[in-house]
């Protein structure tokens, strides 16, 4: 077998082939649902004449790809802003402030120009009304309601490592606990008794709820509405009254982009009212971040949701520690189904 040193390039030569170079096509790492990625990419190409292709990847997958293949993608579209901050901490992002960013509310822009937000939605409880009726309980309206013994083995939560909303739920509870990590872990250890399984992505949880396999799924409110409109008519959305987590879906230009101009053009475009008006037709049930963009009639009203104060930098910084404790203290405990 070859030794490792024999496989490494001689000094100074390894980087040559990955140096930035001009490229006609724009490569997008897209962290939204497939149909949204497709529609938005096609609309971008039609509007700007820039040829563009995407790969749909979850945020964690994007982070891994940036490690293994730097320079592969020009722009990262979608995924929570805190994940873009993590990418920036690892040196993968080229700060860029789009001229269109000034039209956004302050909470949708990074102070240092690392990212801008182009959609938003919140963590909610996605319940199957028929199943709740069978159990004789109402839709949960607080985090503590989820601990109700009546829900034993019939809650679905997305795995916080792979699904952003799983971590959003953790960080929301952590924020409500004033950052006391032990209390947060204690809450999720209790919740573990009621959890059937930790789904890989948030949307598969809403599917389980829609089907009645579980009574309640912790999910994005937009995903819950999407599943309901797709035909799971028993679904209802509720929120924890004491406050919930929310997502700012972000876009950022990646470092060493081969098509940096295209990446910036994409960022300008997705932050334009014309582009955000498209969401209603995709349909995406996440809300556009521009106040004057068209809202779909079924999109959950984000202003009516009580949100916790979301410290993005802290959300990014705490992620690794909270996930590690989730793995070691929560998920490895035997749960209700055993």
């Amino acid at each position: 077998m070859l030794t490792m040193s024999a496989c490494s390039p001689p000094e100074g030569q390894g980087a040559a082939t990955t140096a930035p170079q001009a490229s006609g096509s724009l490569n997008i790492a897209c962290s939204q649902q497939e149909d949204f990625c497709q529609a938005i990419t096609a609309a971008f190409s039609a509007d700007t004449g820039i040829d563009a292709t995407y790969v749909r990847l979850g945020s964690g997958e994007v982070l891994a790809r940036l490690e293994t293949t730097p320079g592969e993608f020009d722009v990262w579209s979608g995924g929570q802003a805190e994940n873009h901050l993590i990418a920036d901490d690892r040196g993968f992002i080229e700060p860029y402030v789009s001229p269109n960013a000034s039209a956004l509310a302050a909470e949708y822009n990074d102070a240092d120009g690392v990212w801008s937000g182009f959609y938003t939605d919140s963590v909610g409880f996605c319940s199957n009304q028929a199943e709740l009726d069978k159990l004789g309980i109402d839709a949960p309206t607080s985090w503590d309601d989820l601990l109700d013994p009546a829900l034993k083995g019939t809650v679905s939560m997305p795995h916080p490592a792979t699904a952003g909303v799983g971590y959003m739920a953790m960080f929301a509870v952590d924020t409500l606990n004033g950052g006391a990590e032990d209390e947060t872990i204690d809450y999720f250890t209790q919740l573990n008794q009621n959890v059937l399984q930790y789904s890989k992505s948030a949307a598969s949880g809403t599917e389980l709820a829609g089907r009645g396999e579980v009574a309640v799924a912790i999910s994005l409110d937009s995903d819950c509405v999407k599943a309901k409109e797709a035909g799971y008519s028993d679904l209802v959305t509720s929120y924890p009254e004491e406050g919930t987590g929310y997502e700012v879906g972000a876009v950022s230009v990646l470092k060493d982009a081969r098509n940096a101009e295209g990446a910036k053009a994409y960022m300008d475009w997705i932050l334009s009212t014309d582009a955000q008006n498209l969401y209603a037709d995709v349909p995406s049930y996440a809300a556009p971040t521009l106040a004057d963009a068209k809202q779909g009639s079924s999109v959950p009203d984000q202003d009516a949701v009580n949100k916790v104060e979301w410290n993005l930098q802290k959300a990014a910084d705490s992620r690794e520690a909270l996930l590690a404790r989730f793995e070691s203290d929560v998920a490895s405990q035997s749960s209700a189904t055993e």
Binding site: M4, P10, N27, T53, G60, E61, E67, T162, D223, S334
Partner: protein
Amino acid sequence: MLAVVLVALTLLLGLPVSKLLAAGTSPAGLEAIGASFTTDVTTLTNSLVLGVLVGIVGTMIGLVSAFAQVFLVFPGKRLLHWLTLLPLISPPFAAATAVITLFGRRGIVSYHLFGLELDIYGLGGLVLVVSMTFTPLAYMNIRGMLENLDPSLFEASAALGSSEVRTIFRVMLPMIVPSLLTSFLILFVEGIADLANPLVLGGSFRVLASQIYFAIAGSGDIAAAAGIALVLLVPALLVFVIQKYWAGKKSVVTVTGKPTGRIRPMESLAVRIPVLTVVTAWMALVILVFGTILVGGFVSILGVNNSFTFEHYEFVWRLGSDAMRTTLTMTLVAAPIAAALAVCIAWLVVRHFQRFGRVLDFVGMLGSAIPGTVLGLGFALAYSQPTWLFGQQILPALAGGLAAGAGSVAIVMVFIARGIPTGQQASISSLKQINPQVDEAAISLGANQFTTFVRISIPLISPAIITAVTYAITKSMTTITAIIFITTPQTKVMTAQILDEVDAGRFGNAFAYCTVLIVMVLIILSITSLLLRRLNRSKRTTAS
């Protein structure tokens, strides 16, 4: 031939694995390894329990199906053959998703038909689904062996007054121990490496494969993932070594070159009734699951809103036609190469290098012993940058959007690496059945080694070659975890698209995708098996 095989194995496995070892033995990797044996040892034991159960259940069903196929006459025999192979073509997630729809807490069969609240989340459901997915491998392997048995042995047993049941237990089973062990090995490894099913219906039953996935896809923590992967590698390799040792001792030569008769069907009811009962139940289950996949593509949401619709197929057509073309092309490139390498390795192992052959065999098997997620990661690590050897660039970057062929080269390489092991095992079992005197006879008649290989060995092991090609095709068309880190914007793969649909909770689209994929594989397999059979026949004619 040896040189080609060595270079191929180094590129396909040596380089990615050494990169992985390096990552896995970094401090973070070692920490993850430590945790697997201390704080989180249940995950390791869960994986082992799942692997053993899948190995046993799958091998039993495979044995019964193969037995029925070779030794019984009954209506629906062709149907049984195709139905037994069907789960192999099932793309990941499809069977698990269908099983939830059928047997979940609100399943169509369990709840709506019988009013039961089954709990299929966890070990029970996993054993059912994973065994089902991989039973075809056992079936193909054991069937090849049964077909090669010398019928005169059965005649002798009958002439000496043994019943058919006694003949099965005293003559047949002992002779096919090698292929039973091989099946168990393959299924064990597939069982511990399977990612798709634990993600969909694992419940609280945690396994190493999904932990690796969470480590990478969640945190991008390559070192930890590689560490856990090394833990997973140990039992896989251990079972492999045990199997080699046992099977090596118990192998029996059955193809002697002397004339033999035809296998005569067994007629005793003591054999027919139990075998056909198991086979019927198995077929019913397969029909139910695949019927669900088929129907699920044509209704809005199966079990919730059963109105007929074409929208799923429209979606697949709109978003998937590109992926279909690419996947098909890459498969057609990879499958013949994988099969050829598998046969070459087997031939070198069995006929030429007794001692070194074990190492070769071992390395070839790594393609399936290494969990897909990890192999894919190894490829990403090894080939995202150009490959250097002693200061010379010998290869350009092969993986990722920046690479030659937009990353398709690396994907094809993964397909080949994943496609080799089963064909290799089948070819080795098959070659071991052939008495070396057959080769020696050819050589003493003036044939050189290459001619002997092409004219004698290959026709004799053609069932194994068909297994190799079949498996390489199906594996390429259905593999997901091994390529998830190296798909690129320009190279879309169908299974990755299906994963996205399951992820998004749009099971209808996923079912439609699966149906299209299954139909595509069936068409390719039919054409391949026709071609191979014709080839085989023409060789026999020239030989006679």
